[in-house]
Protein backbone atom coordinates (compact mmCIF):
# COMPACT_ATOMS: atom_id res chain seq x y z
CA UNK A 1 0.00 0.00 0.00
CA UNK A 2 1.35 3.37 -0.95
CA UNK A 3 1.34 6.11 1.61
CA UNK A 4 -1.61 8.46 1.35
CA UNK A 5 -2.60 11.59 3.23
CA UNK A 6 -6.17 12.40 4.19
CA UNK A 7 -7.04 15.87 5.41
CA UNK A 8 -10.15 16.66 7.46
CA UNK A 9 -11.62 19.94 8.56
CA UNK A 10 -12.74 18.58 11.91
CA UNK A 11 -11.06 16.49 14.55
CA UNK A 12 -14.19 14.34 14.70
CA UNK A 13 -13.86 13.24 11.09
CA UNK A 14 -10.12 12.74 11.46
CA UNK A 15 -10.75 10.54 14.50
CA UNK A 16 -13.15 8.44 12.46
CA UNK A 17 -10.57 8.01 9.72
CA UNK A 18 -7.94 6.99 12.27
CA UNK A 19 -10.02 3.96 13.15
CA UNK A 20 -9.00 2.23 9.93
CA UNK A 21 -6.01 -0.06 10.08
CA UNK A 22 -2.61 1.28 9.15
CA UNK A 23 -3.54 4.89 9.78
CA UNK A 24 -1.63 7.35 11.89
CA UNK A 25 -2.13 10.98 12.80
CA UNK A 26 0.21 13.47 11.14
CA UNK A 27 1.24 16.38 13.31
CA UNK A 28 4.39 18.23 12.38
CA UNK A 29 5.84 15.21 10.63
CA UNK A 30 9.01 14.96 12.68
CA UNK A 31 8.05 11.50 13.97
CA UNK A 32 5.57 10.14 11.46
CA UNK A 33 7.06 11.23 8.13
CA UNK A 34 10.47 10.28 9.38
CA UNK A 35 9.24 6.78 10.17
CA UNK A 36 7.74 6.49 6.70
CA UNK A 37 10.96 7.73 5.08
CA UNK A 38 12.93 5.18 7.06
CA UNK A 39 10.85 2.35 5.67
CA UNK A 40 8.20 1.81 8.33
CA UNK A 41 5.61 0.23 6.06
CA UNK A 42 3.13 -0.43 8.87
CA UNK A 43 1.60 2.99 8.23
CA UNK A 44 -0.17 3.41 4.91
CA UNK A 45 -2.53 6.23 5.70
CA UNK A 46 -1.69 9.55 7.30
CA UNK A 47 -4.55 11.56 8.74
CA UNK A 48 -4.52 15.19 9.68
CA UNK A 49 -6.99 17.83 10.69
CA UNK A 50 -6.87 21.50 9.77
CA UNK A 51 -9.27 22.45 12.58
CA UNK A 52 -8.11 25.96 13.60
CA UNK A 53 -8.74 25.14 17.28
CA UNK A 54 -5.74 22.83 17.11
CA UNK A 55 -3.48 25.76 16.32
CA UNK A 56 -4.57 28.30 18.90
CA UNK A 57 -3.01 29.44 22.13
CA UNK A 58 -5.34 30.92 24.75
CA UNK A 59 -4.12 32.48 27.97
CA UNK A 60 -6.80 33.78 30.32
CA UNK A 61 -6.42 34.53 34.03
CA UNK A 62 -3.23 32.51 34.17
CA UNK A 63 -4.90 29.51 32.59
CA UNK A 64 -3.27 28.30 29.43
CA UNK A 65 -4.77 26.17 26.69
CA UNK A 66 -2.52 25.20 23.81
CA UNK A 67 -3.79 23.47 20.69
CA UNK A 68 -2.05 20.22 19.86
CA UNK A 69 -0.84 21.52 16.48
CA UNK A 70 0.87 24.55 18.03
CA UNK A 71 4.57 24.37 17.27
CA UNK A 72 7.51 24.76 19.61
CA UNK A 73 8.42 27.94 17.76
CA UNK A 74 4.96 29.40 18.38
CA UNK A 75 5.26 28.71 22.10
CA UNK A 76 8.79 30.08 22.27
CA UNK A 77 7.73 33.42 20.78
CA UNK A 78 4.37 33.81 22.58
CA UNK A 79 4.60 36.81 24.90
CA UNK A 80 2.49 35.25 27.65
CA UNK A 81 4.49 32.01 27.67
CA UNK A 82 7.96 33.46 28.07
CA UNK A 83 8.61 31.33 31.13
CA UNK A 84 8.19 28.22 28.97
CA UNK A 85 10.29 29.50 26.10
CA UNK A 86 13.38 27.76 27.38
CA UNK A 87 11.63 24.39 27.35
CA UNK A 88 10.16 24.97 23.89
CA UNK A 89 13.55 26.00 22.54
CA UNK A 90 15.06 22.84 23.94
CA UNK A 91 13.40 20.93 21.13
CA UNK A 92 15.42 20.54 17.92
CA UNK A 93 16.92 23.27 15.79
CA UNK A 94 15.00 26.20 14.29
CA UNK A 95 13.45 24.20 11.45
CA UNK A 96 12.34 21.37 13.71
CA UNK A 97 10.80 23.86 16.12
CA UNK A 98 8.74 25.28 13.26
CA UNK A 99 7.35 21.80 12.69
CA UNK A 100 7.33 19.89 15.97
CA UNK A 101 4.01 20.19 17.76
CA UNK A 102 2.91 20.08 21.35
CA UNK A 103 0.74 17.08 20.57
CA UNK A 104 3.55 15.22 18.88
CA UNK A 105 5.95 15.88 21.74
CA UNK A 106 3.62 13.93 24.06
CA UNK A 107 4.32 10.84 21.97
CA UNK A 108 8.04 11.32 21.41
CA UNK A 109 9.99 8.48 23.01
CA UNK A 110 13.04 9.27 25.16
CA UNK A 111 15.52 10.84 24.57
CA UNK A 112 13.01 13.08 22.79
CA UNK A 113 9.99 14.77 24.35
CA UNK A 114 11.64 17.53 26.37
CA UNK A 115 8.56 19.75 26.21
CA UNK A 116 6.40 16.92 27.53
CA UNK A 117 8.72 16.88 30.54
CA UNK A 118 7.85 20.53 31.08
CA UNK A 119 4.12 19.79 30.70
CA UNK A 120 4.41 17.01 33.26
CA UNK A 121 5.95 19.38 35.79
CA UNK A 122 3.16 21.84 35.01
CA UNK A 123 0.66 19.09 35.83
CA UNK A 124 -1.08 19.69 32.53
CA UNK A 125 -4.33 18.19 31.37
CA UNK A 126 -4.47 16.48 28.00
CA UNK A 127 -7.72 16.69 26.03
CA UNK A 128 -9.07 14.48 23.31
CA UNK A 129 -12.60 14.16 21.96
CA UNK A 130 -13.00 11.36 24.51
CA UNK A 131 -12.40 13.75 27.39
CA UNK A 132 -9.62 15.07 29.60
CA UNK A 133 -6.88 13.20 31.40
CA UNK A 134 -4.09 14.25 33.74
CA UNK A 135 -0.87 14.20 31.77
CA UNK A 136 0.67 11.53 33.93
CA UNK A 137 -2.22 9.19 33.17
CA UNK A 138 -2.06 10.13 29.53
CA UNK A 139 1.66 9.44 29.25
CA UNK A 140 1.30 6.07 30.94
CA UNK A 141 -1.30 4.98 28.42
CA UNK A 142 0.00 6.80 25.36
CA UNK A 143 1.03 3.68 23.44
CA UNK A 144 -2.57 2.54 23.15
CA UNK A 145 -4.05 6.00 22.65
CA UNK A 146 -5.97 6.30 19.37
CA UNK A 147 -7.82 9.59 19.81
CA UNK A 148 -6.30 12.80 18.49
CA UNK A 149 -4.98 15.06 21.22
CA UNK A 150 -6.71 18.40 20.77
CA UNK A 151 -5.31 20.61 23.51
CA UNK A 152 -3.17 20.67 26.61
CA UNK A 153 -4.15 22.94 29.49
CA UNK A 154 -2.35 24.06 32.61
CA UNK A 155 -2.13 26.86 35.09
CA UNK A 156 0.80 29.12 34.39
CA UNK A 157 3.03 29.25 37.47
CA UNK A 158 4.06 32.65 38.78
CA UNK A 159 7.20 34.05 37.16
CA UNK A 160 10.25 32.29 38.51
CA UNK A 161 8.48 29.22 39.85
CA UNK A 162 9.10 27.22 36.69
CA UNK A 163 12.59 25.94 36.06
CA UNK A 164 13.87 23.88 33.18
CA UNK A 165 17.19 22.27 32.35
CA UNK A 166 18.24 20.16 29.41
CA UNK A 167 21.62 18.46 29.36
CA UNK A 168 22.95 17.45 25.98
CA UNK A 169 26.35 16.46 24.64
CA UNK A 170 26.06 18.65 21.53
CA UNK A 171 25.47 22.39 21.73
CA UNK A 172 23.38 24.32 21.17
CA UNK A 173 21.18 21.58 19.73
CA UNK A 174 21.56 18.02 20.84
CA UNK A 175 19.23 15.40 22.16
CA UNK A 176 18.95 14.92 25.87
CA UNK A 177 21.25 13.16 28.21
CA UNK A 178 18.43 14.13 30.50
CA UNK A 179 16.02 16.97 31.03
CA UNK A 180 14.47 18.28 34.23
CA UNK A 181 11.48 20.54 34.70
CA UNK A 182 10.40 21.78 38.09
CA UNK A 183 7.61 23.94 39.50
CA UNK A 184 8.55 25.10 42.97
CA UNK A 185 6.42 27.20 45.30
CA UNK A 186 8.21 28.90 48.14
CA UNK A 187 6.67 29.98 51.41
CA UNK A 188 7.36 33.39 52.90
CA UNK A 189 10.26 32.01 54.93
CA UNK A 190 11.97 30.71 51.80
CA UNK A 191 11.15 27.07 52.39
CA UNK A 192 9.60 24.97 49.68
CA UNK A 193 5.87 24.64 50.11
CA UNK A 194 5.06 22.68 46.98
CA UNK A 195 7.16 20.96 44.36
CA UNK A 196 6.60 19.09 41.14
CA UNK A 197 9.67 17.74 39.41
CA UNK A 198 9.56 15.93 36.08
CA UNK A 199 12.42 14.03 34.47
CA UNK A 200 13.20 13.19 30.88
CA UNK A 201 15.27 10.15 29.84
CA UNK A 202 14.97 8.65 33.30
CA UNK A 203 12.45 6.21 31.79
CA UNK A 204 11.12 5.63 28.30
CA UNK A 205 8.79 8.59 28.85
CA UNK A 206 8.68 11.59 31.19
CA UNK A 207 8.33 10.67 34.85
CA UNK A 208 7.80 12.51 38.12
CA UNK A 209 10.53 12.47 40.78
CA UNK A 210 8.09 12.09 43.64
CA UNK A 211 10.58 11.12 46.30
CA UNK A 212 12.68 14.17 45.53
CA UNK A 213 9.58 16.38 45.52
CA UNK A 214 8.61 15.09 48.95
CA UNK A 215 12.10 15.53 50.32
CA UNK A 216 12.06 19.19 49.29
CA UNK A 217 8.96 20.19 51.21
CA UNK A 218 9.83 22.44 54.11
CA UNK A 219 13.45 22.72 53.01
CA UNK A 220 15.35 25.73 51.81
CA UNK A 221 17.01 25.87 48.40
CA UNK A 222 20.50 25.68 49.79
CA UNK A 223 23.20 23.08 49.33
CA UNK A 224 22.28 21.42 52.60
CA UNK A 225 18.57 22.00 52.17
CA UNK A 226 18.32 20.13 48.89
CA UNK A 227 20.68 17.29 49.84
CA UNK A 228 17.91 14.84 50.82
CA UNK A 229 16.06 15.60 47.60
CA UNK A 230 19.17 14.92 45.53
CA UNK A 231 19.75 11.68 47.38
CA UNK A 232 16.20 10.64 46.50
CA UNK A 233 16.23 11.93 42.93
CA UNK A 234 16.80 8.57 41.29
CA UNK A 235 14.15 6.70 43.26
CA UNK A 236 11.76 4.89 41.00
CA UNK A 237 13.57 5.82 37.82
CA UNK A 238 14.79 3.43 35.15
CA UNK A 239 16.98 5.55 32.92
CA UNK A 240 17.36 4.65 29.28
CA UNK A 241 20.57 3.45 27.68
CA UNK A 242 21.07 4.79 24.18
CA UNK A 243 23.87 6.12 21.95
CA UNK A 244 23.94 9.35 23.97
CA UNK A 245 24.56 7.88 27.41
CA UNK A 246 24.12 4.76 29.49
CA UNK A 247 21.57 4.28 32.24
CA UNK A 248 24.47 4.27 34.69
CA UNK A 249 25.67 7.68 33.57
CA UNK A 250 22.22 9.20 33.57
CA UNK A 251 21.60 7.92 37.09
CA UNK A 252 24.97 9.24 38.26
CA UNK A 253 24.53 12.78 36.97
CA UNK A 254 20.83 13.24 37.68
CA UNK A 255 21.44 14.49 41.24
CA UNK A 256 24.25 16.73 40.01
CA UNK A 257 22.07 18.45 37.45
CA UNK A 258 19.01 18.55 39.68
CA UNK A 259 21.16 20.24 42.30
CA UNK A 260 22.36 22.82 39.80
CA UNK A 261 18.80 23.50 38.66
CA UNK A 262 17.52 23.92 42.21
CA UNK A 263 20.34 26.23 43.23
CA UNK A 264 20.07 28.57 40.22
Amino acid sequence: MALALQTFATVKDANTALKSQGSRYLGGGTLVVRAANEGDVSVSSLVRSTDPALSSIAVTDGKVRIGASVTMAAIARHPDLSSLARAARAVGGPAVRNMATVGGNLFAPAPYGDFAVALLALDATVSTDDGEAPIETFLTGRDSNRAIVTTVGFVLPPQGDFRFLKVSRVKPKGVSVLSIAAVLELAGDGTVSAARIALGCMADRPTRARAAEKALIGRRLTKDGIAPALAAAGEGTSPITDPIASAWYRAEVLPVHLGRLLLT
Binding site: A2, L3, A4, L5, T7, L26, G28, G29, T30, V33, R34, A36, N37, E38, L46, R48, A73, G92, G93, P94, A95, V96, N98, M99, P172, K173
Partner: protein, 160 residues
Protein backbone atom coordinates in the same frame (compact mmCIF):
# COMPACT_ATOMS: atom_id res chain seq x y z
CA UNK B 1 -1.78 4.96 -7.56
CA UNK B 2 -3.90 8.02 -6.95
CA UNK B 3 -2.25 11.27 -7.95
CA UNK B 4 -3.07 14.45 -6.11
CA UNK B 5 -2.61 17.99 -7.34
CA UNK B 6 -0.26 20.42 -5.62
CA UNK B 7 0.09 24.07 -6.40
CA UNK B 8 2.42 26.58 -4.80
CA UNK B 9 4.85 29.29 -5.71
CA UNK B 10 8.53 28.38 -5.80
CA UNK B 11 10.87 31.33 -5.65
CA UNK B 12 8.07 33.52 -6.92
CA UNK B 13 6.94 31.44 -9.85
CA UNK B 14 3.78 29.33 -9.91
CA UNK B 15 4.18 25.56 -9.88
CA UNK B 16 1.48 22.94 -10.31
CA UNK B 17 2.09 19.21 -10.38
CA UNK B 18 0.30 15.94 -9.90
CA UNK B 19 2.13 13.84 -7.35
CA UNK B 20 1.62 10.59 -5.46
CA UNK B 21 -0.11 11.28 -2.18
CA UNK B 22 2.38 11.12 0.65
CA UNK B 23 5.26 12.50 -1.44
CA UNK B 24 7.57 14.70 0.57
CA UNK B 25 8.15 18.26 -0.53
CA UNK B 26 11.83 17.39 -0.96
CA UNK B 27 11.01 14.72 -3.53
CA UNK B 28 8.42 16.91 -5.23
CA UNK B 29 10.91 19.76 -5.59
CA UNK B 30 13.80 17.59 -6.73
CA UNK B 31 12.16 14.88 -8.81
CA UNK B 32 9.06 16.58 -10.18
CA UNK B 33 9.89 20.27 -10.38
CA UNK B 34 13.61 19.94 -10.94
CA UNK B 35 14.87 22.21 -8.17
CA UNK B 36 17.72 20.10 -6.79
CA UNK B 37 19.12 22.78 -4.51
CA UNK B 38 17.56 21.22 -1.39
CA UNK B 39 19.58 18.09 -0.63
CA UNK B 40 18.51 14.82 0.94
CA UNK B 41 21.15 14.14 3.56
CA UNK B 42 19.12 12.05 5.99
CA UNK B 43 15.36 12.12 5.33
CA UNK B 44 15.07 12.03 9.12
CA UNK B 45 15.08 15.69 10.02
CA UNK B 46 18.55 15.50 11.56
CA UNK B 47 20.86 17.17 9.00
CA UNK B 48 19.11 20.27 7.66
CA UNK B 49 20.42 19.91 4.09
CA UNK B 50 16.85 19.97 2.78
CA UNK B 51 15.91 23.22 4.57
CA UNK B 52 13.55 25.52 2.67
CA UNK B 53 11.48 28.52 3.66
CA UNK B 54 7.73 27.98 3.56
CA UNK B 55 5.52 31.03 4.12
CA UNK B 56 8.32 32.76 5.97
CA UNK B 57 9.27 29.84 8.19
CA UNK B 58 12.31 27.60 7.96
CA UNK B 59 11.14 24.03 7.40
CA UNK B 60 12.59 20.64 6.58
CA UNK B 61 11.32 19.62 3.18
CA UNK B 62 12.14 15.96 3.84
CA UNK B 63 9.54 15.80 6.63
CA UNK B 64 6.94 18.02 4.96
CA UNK B 65 4.39 16.38 2.71
CA UNK B 66 4.06 18.31 -0.52
CA UNK B 67 0.28 18.30 -0.46
CA UNK B 68 0.30 20.22 2.83
CA UNK B 69 1.98 23.09 0.95
CA UNK B 70 -0.90 23.91 -1.36
CA UNK B 71 -1.08 27.67 -1.78
CA UNK B 72 2.19 28.23 0.03
CA UNK B 73 5.12 30.42 -0.96
CA UNK B 74 8.29 28.37 -0.96
CA UNK B 75 11.84 29.67 -1.28
CA UNK B 76 14.97 27.67 -1.92
CA UNK B 77 18.61 28.53 -2.38
CA UNK B 78 18.32 28.22 -6.17
CA UNK B 79 16.03 31.26 -6.16
CA UNK B 80 18.21 33.53 -4.08
CA UNK B 81 20.34 35.19 -6.70
CA UNK B 82 18.58 37.68 -8.93
CA UNK B 83 19.70 38.43 -12.44
CA UNK B 84 22.97 36.66 -11.89
CA UNK B 85 23.77 38.77 -8.83
CA UNK B 86 24.48 36.68 -5.78
CA UNK B 87 22.59 37.26 -2.54
CA UNK B 88 24.87 38.73 0.15
CA UNK B 89 24.88 35.38 1.94
CA UNK B 90 25.93 33.56 -1.20
CA UNK B 91 28.59 36.19 -1.81
CA UNK B 92 29.88 35.85 1.75
CA UNK B 93 29.98 32.04 1.66
CA UNK B 94 31.99 32.28 -1.54
CA UNK B 95 34.33 35.09 -0.49
CA UNK B 96 35.14 33.66 2.93
CA UNK B 97 35.73 30.09 1.73
CA UNK B 98 32.81 28.70 3.71
CA UNK B 99 32.06 25.88 1.29
CA UNK B 100 33.99 22.67 0.92
CA UNK B 101 32.01 19.73 -0.45
CA UNK B 102 29.01 22.03 -0.82
CA UNK B 103 26.35 19.50 0.10
CA UNK B 104 25.23 21.28 3.27
CA UNK B 105 25.59 24.73 1.73
CA UNK B 106 22.07 25.31 0.35
CA UNK B 107 20.50 24.29 3.66
CA UNK B 108 22.95 26.41 5.62
CA UNK B 109 22.17 29.41 3.44
CA UNK B 110 18.43 28.98 3.94
CA UNK B 111 18.86 28.76 7.72
CA UNK B 112 21.11 31.82 7.66
CA UNK B 113 18.70 33.76 5.46
CA UNK B 114 15.90 33.10 7.91
CA UNK B 115 18.05 34.56 10.66
CA UNK B 116 19.15 37.66 8.76
CA UNK B 117 15.61 38.35 7.52
CA UNK B 118 14.55 38.85 11.13
CA UNK B 119 17.82 39.73 12.82
CA UNK B 120 19.96 41.80 10.45
CA UNK B 121 22.79 42.25 12.95
CA UNK B 122 22.98 38.98 14.83
CA UNK B 123 25.41 38.14 17.58
CA UNK B 124 27.68 35.16 17.16
CA UNK B 125 25.45 33.20 19.54
CA UNK B 126 22.41 33.99 17.44
CA UNK B 127 24.20 32.73 14.34
CA UNK B 128 25.20 29.56 16.16
CA UNK B 129 21.61 29.00 17.25
CA UNK B 130 20.27 29.66 13.76
CA UNK B 131 22.62 27.09 12.21
CA UNK B 132 22.17 24.52 14.95
CA UNK B 133 19.86 22.28 12.96
CA UNK B 134 22.28 21.96 10.06
CA UNK B 135 25.12 19.46 9.94
CA UNK B 136 28.42 20.20 8.23
CA UNK B 137 31.12 17.53 8.24
CA UNK B 138 33.86 19.38 6.35
CA UNK B 139 34.34 22.85 7.73
CA UNK B 140 34.12 22.59 11.50
CA UNK B 141 31.36 25.27 11.33
CA UNK B 142 33.59 28.24 12.13
CA UNK B 143 33.95 29.36 8.48
CA UNK B 144 30.18 29.17 8.05
CA UNK B 145 29.55 31.21 11.18
CA UNK B 146 32.04 33.77 9.92
CA UNK B 147 30.35 33.85 6.50
CA UNK B 148 26.98 34.65 8.06
CA UNK B 149 28.49 37.38 10.21
CA UNK B 150 30.25 38.76 7.12
CA UNK B 151 26.99 38.79 5.16
CA UNK B 152 25.28 40.62 8.02
CA UNK B 153 28.02 43.24 8.07
CA UNK B 154 27.87 43.76 4.31
CA UNK B 155 24.09 44.10 4.53
CA UNK B 156 24.30 46.77 7.19
CA UNK B 157 27.01 48.62 5.22
CA UNK B 158 24.82 48.58 2.12
CA UNK B 159 21.86 49.84 4.16
CA UNK B 160 23.91 52.67 5.65
Amino acid sequence: MAKVPVQFTLNGSEKAEFIDSGTTLLHALRDKIGDTSPKGGCHQGTCGACSVIIDGELRLSCLTLAETCNGAAISTTSGLSEGGVLHPLQRAFLDTFATQCGFCTPGMIMAAKMLLDHTPNPSRDEVVEALSGNICRCTGYEPIIQAVLTAARSNSQNAA
